[in-house]
């Protein structure tokens, strides 16, 4: 091994942490821009969402720093407790008094004003479980029976999340599961074998809840129902389209004046695109891409299979969510409620993602190409 690399290993990937903090801070700026009007109208405080996010980031940075220095290998020991906690929380969502319902979906658990989105934790639980399992039994990825525990873990998680209902996170978790299996060395024929029931399940899900079908068709022609199913997407497209090449300027979004729902969370990318334009978004995604790149780099240099799978899983869930979010706001896929990681308003998500980035830093610090 070259010495220069060794030095880098010891320092850890500080650029990743810097990029994560820059992205989170940019997120707060855009949360302010997107929400100040509606927040002062709804809560009488233009900084309502900014304050909430700032608290999340503060906790997130603290947890991230802790994870930076917490040996990732010890995380394997937490696999069972974290997995149990994940499922318990997912079930708690459905228990009256603890589960919190918003916009017709039970996606939160809460005590008083503190609420938590269990599905955010479940994604990490799946990554941790798969990484622990395959690093403990590397050969099991080659057989269908061997991958079955991860498969069941993932499907059970998906089932509980789809019942909330939250189709977009379900899709994310399913994609994440497949990626983990694929990265761990699953045979291609097993992957193909699994795709068939997956497609069948997709069709079944749509048949179960007719609103999914109308959402599916809404994105193809949002003008067919501009005040109903197509409304949100139209407003998102208006925002992005108004941005053009260079945007209307920071804080100058017109769409945030209550035209665009969830402007500070799921559709924050529309406001960003309106304000900084295509060129700005290109740079914004370069930053996201950079984080993905550093995550993959950490995975590729990880010392063991556990670190490899852990870093890859975290990077993938970050990347998958960012891409799906961008596809939603541009009307490329049916609209689903999915936050932009590290940017959208939402405390559970920001804390978990920052903590996970700390894990990647730790992996990069201890990384070596030993496998």
């Amino acid at each position: 091994m070259k010495l220069s690399r060794g030095g880098e290993r010891e320092r850890g990937d500080i650029l990743l942490i810097v990029a994560v903090i820059i992205l989170a801070v940019l997120g707060v700026v855009f949360i302010y821009s997107a929400s100040n009007y509606s927040a002062s109208a709804t809560y009488g405080d233009a900084f309502y969402f900014v304050k909430k996010q700032a608290i999340g980031i503060a906790i997130g940075i603290a947890v991230m720093i802790f994870m930076c220095f917490f040996d990732y290998r010890k995380l394997a020991k937490f696999t069972i407790p974290v997995s149990i906690a994940s499922f318990v929380l997912l079930v708690l969502v459905f228990i009256p008094g603890i589960g919190v319902e918003n916009y017709g979906a039970k996606r939160w658990v809460g005590v008083g004003s503190v609420t938590l989105q269990p599905s955010e934790i479940s994604k990490f639980a799946l990554i941790l479980f798969a990484a622990s399992y395959f690093s403990a039994h590397p050969d099991r990825s080659k057989t269908f029976l061997g991958i079955l525990p991860v498969l069941l873990f993932g499907l059970a998680t998906c089932l509980l999340i789809i019942l909330e209902p939250n189709m977009s996170i379900t899709v994310c978790v399913a994609t994440l599961m497949m990626t983990m299996l694929f990265a761990a060395g699953m045979r291609i024929k097993h992957a193909v074998l699994m795709l068939i029931p997956a497609i069948g399940a997709g069709v079944l899900l749509i048949l179960m809840e007719p609103y999914r079908l109308s959402r599916l068709t809404a994105f193809l022609n949002p003008w067919s129902n501009p005040k109903g199913e197509g409304y949100q997407l139209l407003q998102s497209l208006y925002a992005l389209g108004s941005g053009g090449w260079f945007g209307v300027g920071l804080f100058n979004s017109r769409q945030k004046y209550a035209f665009l729902p969830f402007a500070e969370s799921d559709f924050i990318l529309s406001v960003i695109g309106e304000e900084i334009g295509f060129i700005g978004l290109l740079m914004f995604f370069a930053l996201i891409g950079f984080i993905v790149y550093r995550g993959m780099r950490a995975a590729s240099r990880a010392k063991d299979l556990f670190g490899f799978l852990l870093a890859l899983g975290i990077t993938m869930i970050f990347g998958i969510q960012a891409v799906i979010n961008a596809l939603v706001v541009t009307g490329s896929i049916p609209p689903t409620g999915l936050p932009l990681p590290l940017v959208s308003s939402g405390n559970t998500a920001i804390i978990i993602f920052m903590a996970e980035m700390g894990v990647i830093f730790n992996i990069s610090k201890n990384g070596a190409l030993t496998f």
Binding site: Y37, T179, F182, A183, G185, L237, Y238, A239, L240, G241, S242, G243, G244, W245, R254, Q255, Y257, A258, F259, G273, G277, F278, L281, L282, F285, G289, V292, M296, A299, S300, L305, F308, L312, M316, G319, V323, A326, L327, T330, G331, S332, F371
Partner: protein, 572 residues
């Protein structure tokens, strides 16, 4: 290990591909599609307050304003922007004389985010409201049509709806010129219409409507209005109509239909009454003209005689003195008894003087229906004159193929045919002005607020109907009608008034209605160079009913008024 590296590489490629797809999609939405999307977005970002274009004025030929505008405003409220609803409702109800409960209900129970509170509010009330400095209350200029002379030229001018759209008369016909193009003030607002702090307001000015200068002469119109008011009163008539036209251009100098109403107090609540009163009967209604139509029969005979047609009668020809003519076995008789030498030994001039029906039957029978119809059509009976007015009637003329001899015999003295007053006036003008038919018109000029003329209406000729010589001969005969014959009551010493009376019995359900007549007179002066031609039509006068005694005197009084007003010297 190589498998894991391959897998990592594959995942990296997949992620890179997804990122590229996102970039491509963003480029498409933001750059290629962007302009189109922004255009649609701008639509929802602004709320607009209309700036109503000032409606064009209508003036008489000398610039006297007959229709103008008062400075009024529409008050409306954007509910979401109101801070103190109770205070606002109280102030609005007090200032605008409206019930508090009504205002409160309007502002709170309507679904629309923008509520029109009241239209046509005067400037001083607006100033009072402005003092409160309410948020969410907006004012925009609207139009209150003002007619300075109240009940004047009513059926010609017509009226507008409360929001300033032309509904009848010239207000309707020239609406696209008068109305102009409304502007607007665009405010940047949020989704429910609350103005954004620091938002821009864009002002798109209104383009005011164009003004109309009529051919109507205010003074002559005044004479007619007074004359027809008197006719209604004296003769207890169902209606009284009069028009004055310049026979050399077709320019209408006065047009008056009674009964009418005050244009500043339109009976909008009673739609059928409003429609009846605002109807311009001279243009839109038809009647059986009776003897005034003999002008056409006489003109046809004179022209055919001059053309050498053997079927036509010489002006010297003495017609049969009998009261009766038999056509296809049917007896047609004169209105006069022909007793004690009345209507004896008459030539054409004498026939006009005495309005002797059988002589005109002789002419029509001799000329035949093809020749008679040639003149009926040349004088434009049976088709619209083309006046610049909506709803013109075309009259009722039997198709030439269906006309029996007995019909033609009656058409010769103005029965079995129906015309509009305007058709009769325009045709008579053509017969005596030297033989040229001019399309009658009401507007002489369309001009903008700076006095720049957008369109000048020139006299429009439909061509020659009879020769100048025939016209001169006819005119001298009609002059003798007024000097020596049935038109004596229109005679003015020295001014060479000419004309023809008409008395027609009215038909109801196909039979003669006893005691119901239309009394009319068409006259002009001076006979050798006609300048003013007037038609008077009195419908269902009580008591006297002859055109000579009922209608002719009003033509005389208007002519005298014109002579006086225009200081017309005695002709040489």
């Amino acid at each position: 290990m190589t498998v894991l590296r391959k897998r990592l590489f594959a995942i990296t490629i997949a992620v890179a591909f997804l990122f590229l797809f996102v970039f491509g999609r963003l480029f498409y939405v933001q750059v290629i599609w962007g302009e189109d999307l922004q255009e649609k977005a701008i639509d929802q970002w602004t709320r607009e307050i209309p700036v109503i274009a000032a409606r064009g004025k209508i003036t008489d030929v000398n610039g006297v304003v007959l229709a103008g505008n008062a400075d009024t405003y529409t008050v409306f409220v954007r509910k979401r922007a109101v801070e103190d609803m109770d205070k606002l409702c109280a102030a609005l109800s007090e200032t605008l004389d409206m019930e508090y409960d009504y205002v409160y209900k309007r502002l709170n129970s309507t679904v629309s985010s923008e509520v029109t509170v009241k239209k046509q509010v005067t400037k001083d009330k607006i100033n009072k409201l402005l003092e409160y400095n309410f948020s969410g209350v907006y004012y925009s200029r609207d139009n209150s049509r003002i007619y300075p002379y109240n009940e004047f030229l009513t059926s010609v001018l017509g009226f507008t709806s409360t929001d300033g759209k032309g509904q009848s008369g010239l207000e309707l016909y020239y609406d696209k010129y008068l109305s102009g193009i409304d502007g607007e003030i665009l405010y940047e607002t949020d989704i429910v219409g609350v103005e954004i702090d620091g938002g821009k307001a864009t002002y798109i000015p209104a383009t005011d409507g164009l003004n109309l200068k009529l051919t109507i002469d205010y003074e002559i119109q005044s004479l007619c209005e007074a004359a027809m008011d008197e006719a209604m009163e004296v003769h207890k008539a169902k209606s009284a109509q009069m028009l004055v036209i310049d026979p050399n251009t077709g320019a209408i100098r006065a047009m008056c239909c009674k009964p009418s109403y005050n244009l500043n107090d339109i009976p909008r609540d009673d739609i059928s009454l409003l429609h009846a009163l605002s109807r311009n009967g001279l243009v839109c209604d038809i009647y059986e003209p009776g003897s005034t139509f003999k002008v056409l029969t006489a003109a046809a005979n004179i022209q055919e005689y001059l053309n050498g047609n053997k079927a036509a009668f010489s002006p010297q020809h003495i017609f049969s003195s009998s009261r009766y003519r038999y056509v296809d076995g049917q007896k047609v008789k004169c209105w006069s008894t022909h007793e004690k030498g009345k209507h004896a030994a008459l030539n054409l001039a004498g026939a006009l003087n005495n309005s002797c029906n059988p002589i005109f039957v002789d002419i029509a029978m001799s000329l035949g229906k093809e020749t008679m119809y040639k003149y009926i059509e040349a004088f434009n009976y049976g088709s619209v004159t083309g006046i610049d007015f909506s709803g013109e009637a075309q009259g009722m003329v039997l198709p030439v193929s269906a006309v029996q001899n007995v019909d033609l015999a009656r058409i010769a003295f103005g029965q079995t045919i129906a015309v509009t007053g305007l058709q009769l006036a325009a045709a008579t003008a053509a017969a005596i002005n030297g033989g040229i038919y001019y399309t009658p018109h009401l507007v002489s000029e369309i001009y903008d607020g700076n006095g720049i003329i957008a369109e000048e209406i020139q006299p429009q000729s439909k061509g020659r109907v009879i020769s100048e010589e025939a016209s001169t001969i006819l005119s001298s005969m009609l002059e003798s009608v007024v000097r020596d014959g049935s038109g004596k009551q229109a005679y003015i010493e020295g001014y060479r008034v000419a004309g023809k009376t008409g008395t027609a019995q009215k038909y109801e359900n196909g039979i003669i209605a006893a005691g119901k007549y239309v009394s009319s007179f068409v006259g002009y002066f001076p006979a050798n160079d006609p300048q003013y031609l007037a038609l008077v039509v009195i419908d269902e006068p009580e008591g006297q009913y002859y055109g000579s005694t009922v209608a002719a005197p009003f033509a005389k009084s208007v002519f005298e008024g014109i002579i006086d007003l225009k200081n017309i010297p005695l002709p040489e």
